[in-house]
């Protein structure tokens, strides 16, 4: 499993640093590897092309003539799928990891609650980014490149490759300024108890801000698209 591979790499990193790097010991590293693995599917880290596909084929007309808000419509469908994928593809990696390693599980209910909220927001940010990226299809008929770019940047700056605390300080600072960290790195840190007390609220508030800002971006793009752009096909 990919989770194991990443776990061993991070163990190696920790060992090379004399058991600890950037304040992270082996236990944190390993748990981080598995928790981010669990977050992948539900936050749409593998890309999302359904809406872009409908724009390309012109089927998006059907979405446009329903008496519902197009963005909320897709958000609802995303939420349903995301809840399902967290269950089916999020929990197994954690269980598998727990078989071999001693994972750091939140000790108290409060951390679990904050973590749950953080995951929901991470998924929401994932939606908002992919929605906007999909809308690019209104202008560039082939928006797959944009989607892949998002995936690539997310993998790197989100901490899916290695935790961003391992970056040089300036690069970590950049990563923390981007929304991608809020999709994987931050919820993982919450799980690891690295945002204790009021820190938890700050983490959630930052995520919420990104969610709202990116939703707004999608909304502006949708408005521009329906005003100016063209629907394909008869």
């Amino acid at each position: 499993m990919f989770g194991y591979l990443r776990a061993y790499i991070l163990i190696g990193v920790a060992a090379a640093g004399g058991g600890e790097v950037a304040g992270w010991d082996e236990g944190l590293m390993v748990t981080f590897a598995f928790i981010t693995q669990s977050l992948l599917a539900g936050t749409g880290a593998f890309g999302e092309q359904e809406l872009a596909e409908r724009i390309r084929s012109g089927d998006v007309v059907v979405d446009l003539y329903r008496p519902v808000d197009v963005q909320l419509w897709w958000l609802a469908s995303w939420s349903g799928r995301s809840a399902y994928t967290f269950g089916s593809r999020g929990i197994p990696p954690m269980l598998l990891g727990a078989v071999v390693f001693d994972l750091r599980v939140p000790p108290d209910a409060a951390t679990w609650i904050v973590f749950a909220l953080s995951v929901v927001l991470a998924s929401g940010i994932g939606f908002a980014i992919r929605f906007a990226a999909n809308l690019v299809a209104f202008w560039l008929l082939d928006s797959r490149g944009v989607d892949q770019l998002v995936t690539l940047v997310l993998t790197f700056f989100g901490g899916l490759l290695v935790p961003i605390v391992l970056f040089p300080p300036w690069l970590e600072a950049v990563a923390r300024l981007l929304p991608f960290a809020a999709m994987a790195q931050v919820p993982a840190e919450v799980f690891l108890g690295l945002h204790p007390g009021r820190g938890a609220l700050t983490a959630l508030a930052t995520q919420l801000a990104w969610f709202v800002a990116l939703l707004a971006l999608g909304r502006v793009m949708l408005g521009a698209a329906t005003r100016k752009v063209v629907i394909q096909g008869g």
Partner: protein, 318 residues
Amino acid sequence: MASTDQPAIVADHLEKTFAVRHRAGRLRRHRIEVRAVDGVSFRVDPGEMVGYLGPNGAGKSTTIKMLTGILTPSGGSLATLGLDPTRHRTELAQRIGVVFGQRTQLWWDLPLADSFELLHHVYRTDRRRHEENLGSFVELLDMSSFMLTPVRQLSLGQRMRGELTAALLHDPALVVLDEPTIGLDIVSKLAVREFLVNLNRERGTTVLLTTHDLDDVEHLCQRMMIIDHGRVIHDGGVAEFKSTYGTHRTVVVDLVDAAPPLDVLGTMVTRVDGPRQRLRFDRSTTTAAQVIAGIVEEAAISDLSIEDLVRQVYDAGG
């Protein structure tokens, strides 16, 4: 069911231009403007059933997309049920029904019945009214045998009945149908027609439909509009249309070799393009069979077809 005399649709010098870019050489790009709809004006009153005809690429679908608020006009003005469609798209969606024959608004993976249930929530229709409508549509369109079949497994004719139902469950005052009979066999076509006539008669629903099938128009509409190259070239009663253009037919023959105009009793050659000739005849005095027999006697032919009415109007108008 419109309670006021407010027109269902008013289009005034409606225009839509598409900018189409295409490559000319390595780097240069040409930008061409396509005038898909070029100054279309018409008015549809509540309770009317209007056929909107025209050859491929005439601008029918583009007009419909503007009427429903999906595309923004490039010029002119438009009111659908008194609303500016682009500005009130969602509000309008609640009051109109739309079928694009080549797309589906049903959910591929769900049984038809579940799709309808979802639409009940999407349109927030009254539960009792929903059940009532659904019951009557299922009966009228004979859908009970495939209500539990996933949409992806339905035949085209079955799916189209589902689409019509989906477009009408929320009691729209206006339905806009873009090629609702495309690809249907005679039985399904008749079912759809009968259903639409019934809908219009019983509920007073205004219907605007595009089709390539003149038969549809003859059976459904009192009025037809013909559009070509983005312009309306005919707007009037169907009966009147038929008496103007109805008695003449044109036979197009492809001869094996170019020949002088054929001399066939009861016909007149209207055009000669090399081996292709067009012969016009009056349906009330000569039958197509007589004409064909006459042609076969005169010359060796490789292909032959009879053009219908609408085609002749396109030619006249273009």
